[in-house]
C-alpha cells in the first residue's frame, strides 16, 4: 500500500488553475430551494476549504439530503449560486461539475461488473480504455477490492458494495466527494469499520468531502467541521468539539450529544454584572456567567441546559442542587445512565419523554431504582438559552474541558 499514486483533484488540468488563486473548494451562496410554497432550503451560505471533511447533520426533513443533491446537480436550485473551485456550476449538468457521489442505496449498476461500474464515469467522458483500466485498478487497490473486479454487485456483500460505490467515486478523481448517508445500510460493526476507513481515505486522498448523516457519532468522529441544519437553514457550523462545547442555540445543544442535554425552565432571580442567578421550583439558585451582549432582566424565563455527564451524584445531600428519586437505572458496563424524577423540577423534552432528568455516570454504580439521591451541578457547566430565539446566552466554555 506504500507506493500507490493517489488520484487527487489536481489530476483535473482544467481546474488546476482555479485552485491557485482560491483554496476554497466549494462555495454555497444563498442557496434556496422551494417546492411550491414549501421551502426546503432557506438561504444556505457555506464556504468549504480544499481538503475539508464537512459533515451535515440534522433531523429528518431538515434539508441536508436536498442540499447535497443540489450540490450534485441532481436537484435544481430555486436561487443562489454554487461554485466548485471558483467555477459557477449552478446550472451545470451533474456529470460536468467535478463531483462524485456515494448513495445510501449504493446505486451500483446491477448489470455491470465491479470494474465496469467503477469505470463508467470515465467511459462516459470518452477516456481511452487504458486510462480507465488504470484508474479503476488504482481505486480498487486503495479499497482492497482488486479480487472483486469481475463480479457483479449482486454477488457482493453490503460492505463490499459500499466499497465499490466509494471506488466508483474515487475513479472519477472529483474535486468534491459527496456522501449521502453511505453507512446507514450497514450493520453496526461494519459501520464502525467503514467509518474509520473513510476517515483514513480522506486523510490519504486529501480531497474535499461533504458527508450527510443523521448519525451524530459519524459526525463527531469524522468531521473537520460539522454543519447543523434545521428547517432548511444552517443552525451552526464548527468543529465537532466546538459545537459540542459551545452550541450556538438550544437546537444545536439538544441535537448533539447522546443522551440528550437536560433542559429546564428557570426564572432569573437577580442579575449582577456579567452573571445571573437563576432558580426553579425544586432547584437551588445557580449563579451563571453570561456571554457578552446578553441582555437578561430579573424575572425573565429562560431555558437552562445541563448535559447528563455534567450532573453528579452529591455525597452530601445538603450540598445538592436538586434532589429526586431514581426511576430507572441503565447499566451500560463502562457507564451508567440514571433517569431521575426530580418532583417539581421537570425536564423539558427529556430523553425519556416523561420529564425525568437524565444523568450519565462514567462508572458502575450501586445506586438502584427508587433510591432517593441528591444531584449537584457545577454552574460552569450550565448553558442558558434566551426565551424567544433560544440563543445561547451563557458564557463560552473552553473546548478542552478541565
Amino acid at each position: 500500500m506504500t507506493d500507490i499514486h493517489l488520484p487527487t483533484s489536481t489530476d483535473r488540468p482544467e481546474t488546476a488553475i482555479a485552485r491557485q488563486d482560491a483554496m476554497t473548494s466549494l462555495q454555497l451562496h444563498q442557496i434556496q430551494k422551494s417546492y411550491g410554497a414549501y421551502h426546503a432550503l432557506r438561504g444556505i451560505d457555506l464556504d468549504v476549504e480544499q481538503g475539508e471533511f464537512i459533515v451535515m447533520v440534522g433531523p429528518s426533513g431538515c434539508g441536508k439530503s436536498t442540499l447535497l443533491k443540489t450540490i450534485a446537480g441532481l436537484e435544481t436550485i430555486s436561487s443562489g449560486q454554487i461554485l466548485i473551485n471558483g467555477r459557477d456550476v449552478s446550472n451545470t449538468e451533474p456529470g460536468e461539475r467535478g463531483i462524485a457521489m456515494v448513495f445510501q442505496s449504493y446505486a451500483l449498476y446491477p448489470h455491470m461488473t465491479v470494474a465496469e461500474n467503477m469505470g463508467f464515469g470515465l467511459r462516459m467522458a470518452h477516456r481511452p480504455k487504458a486510462e480507465i483500466d488504470a484508474a479503476v485498478l488504482r481505486a480498487a487497490k486503495i479499497l482492497r477490492i482488486t479480487d472483486q473486479l469481475d463480479k457483479r454487485p449482486k454477488q457482493l456483500s453490503g460492505g463490499q458494495r459500499q466499497r465499490v460505490a466509494i471506488g466508483r467515486a474515487i475513479t472519477r478523481s472529483p474535486d468534491v466527494f459527496l456522501f449521502d448517508e453511505p453507512l446507514s445500510n450497514l450493520d453496526a460493526a461494519l459501520r464502525t469499520q467503514m467509518r474509520v476507513e473513510l476517515s483514513g481515505l480522506h486523510a490519504k486522498l486529501g480531497a474535499t468531502m461533504i458527508y450527510v448523516t443523521h448519525d451524530q457519532v459519524e459526525a463527531m468522529t469524522m468531521a473537520s467541521r460539522i454543519v447543523v441544519l434545521n428547517h432548511g437553514s444552517i443552525e451552526q457550523v464548527g468543529s465537532p468539539l466546538e459545537l459540542y462545547r459551545n452550541p450556538a442555540n438550544l437546537f444545536v445543544a439538544g441535537f448533539l450529544g447522546a443522551p440528550r442535554m437536560n433542559f429546564f425552565e428557570v426564572t432569573v432571580d437577580s442579575v449582577s454584572g456579567r452573571s445571573a442567578t437563576v432558580s426553579a421550583a425544586g432547584l437551588a439558585p445557580l449563579s451563571i456567567e453570561l456571554a457578552d451582549g446578553a441582555s437578561v432582566q430579573k424575572g425573565d424565563t429562560l431555558t437552562m441546559g445541563v448535559r447528563p455527564e455534567n450532573l453528579s451524584v452529591a455525597t452530601d445531600p445538603a450540598a445538592a442542587t436538586f434532589a429526586g428519586q431514581v426511576r430507572l437505572v441503565e447499566h451500560l458496563g463502562r457507564e451508567t445512565i440514571l433517569y431521575i424524577d426530580a418532583g417539581p423540577l421537570q425536564c423539558v423534552s427529556s430523553e425519556s419523554g416523561n420529564g425525568t432528568v437524565t444523568v450519565q455516570i462514567g462508572h458502575v454504580t450501586a445506586i438502584s431504582a427508587d433510591a432517593a439521591i441528591g444531584l449537584s451541578i457545577d454552574p460552569r457547566d450550565v448553558y442558558l438559552f434566551s426565551s424567544g430565539e433560544a440563543q445561547t446566552i451563557s458564557t463560552r466554555k473552553s473546548i478542552l474541558a478541565d
Binding site: A72, F103, A107, P110, F120, G121, M124
Partner: protein
Amino acid sequence: MKTLWRHHRWWLTPTLLIMPAAILFSVVILASSVESLWISLHEWDGFGPMRWIGLDNYRELFNDPQFYVSLKNNVIWLVMFMLAPPLGLAIALLVNQKIRGMRFLKSLFFIPLVLASVAVGVVFSWVYTPQFGLLAIIFRFFGATAPAVLSDEHFVTFAVVTAALWPQTAFCMVLYLAGLNNLSEDLIGAGRVDGAKGWNMLRHIVLPQLTQVTFIAIAVTVVGALRSFDIISVMTSGGPFGSSSVLAYQMFEQSIFSYRFGYGAAIASVLFVIMAVFIVWYLSRIIRAEERGA
C-alpha cells in the same frame, strides 16, 4: 378433527389454495390439448362417429399449399409484431415526460387497449375502404390513388397486421410505463453524476432496468402474433382466396365451416408445438439471464 387439521395444515393449506387453479388448468388446458391431439388422428365431422386415420391429417396438411400460405403469414405477423415493444417503449418514454397536457395524450394512447379487437378490425376496415377511407383520403391529398389493400393478396396481411399492431403497441406502452415508474431514482442519479445523458442514459442505465418488462413484452407479443385470429376474421375472413389466413384462422375455418374437426385439430397441434417450442426456449433464456444476475 382439530388435531388432524393442525397436524396436516402444513400441506393442506397450500394444496387447497392451489387446487382450483390446478383443476382449471388441467381441464381447460391440459385435457383439451391432449384431446385435441387425439382428435387430430381421426376423421371427424364434429357430430358423427370418429374414424381412426393415424397421421393422414398431418400428411395432408404438409401437402396443403394453404398451410404454407398460413405459415408464411404467421411469420409475417411475428416479424411485424416485433415492432410493438420498441414502438411501445418509444411512446412510453414520450408520454412519461412531465409536460403539461401529457396526461391527456397518455389517455389517448390507452384507447386501443379498451377496444375489442373486433372493433379495431372494423375501424381499420373503414380506414382501408377504397374511395372513402382515411387511407384513400390521404393518398388523394398527395394526388395518388390508394390501393384496395384488403383485396390485394400482396398487401392484405400487412394491412391486417398494421391494424393489430395498434392495440399491441398500446399494450407494450402500458407495460413500459409501469416499468418506467419503477426505475431506481438513485441509479438515474448515479448515471447523471457519471455523466450519462440522452442515448447513453437510455442504453446503459434505463434499458437494463427494463429487462424484465422487455422479456414480458416480447413474450406476450409473440404469443399474440401466433394466436391472431379475431381481427382476420373481421377484416378479411382469411381472404382474398386464403391469402391473409394464418394457422389459427385456418384451423377455425376447417373445423367450423368445412366440418373437418380432425384436420382442424391437426393444424391446432402444429400451432401448439410451435408455441411450446418458443416458450420453452424463451423461458430457459430468461432463467439463464436471471441466474447471471441481470
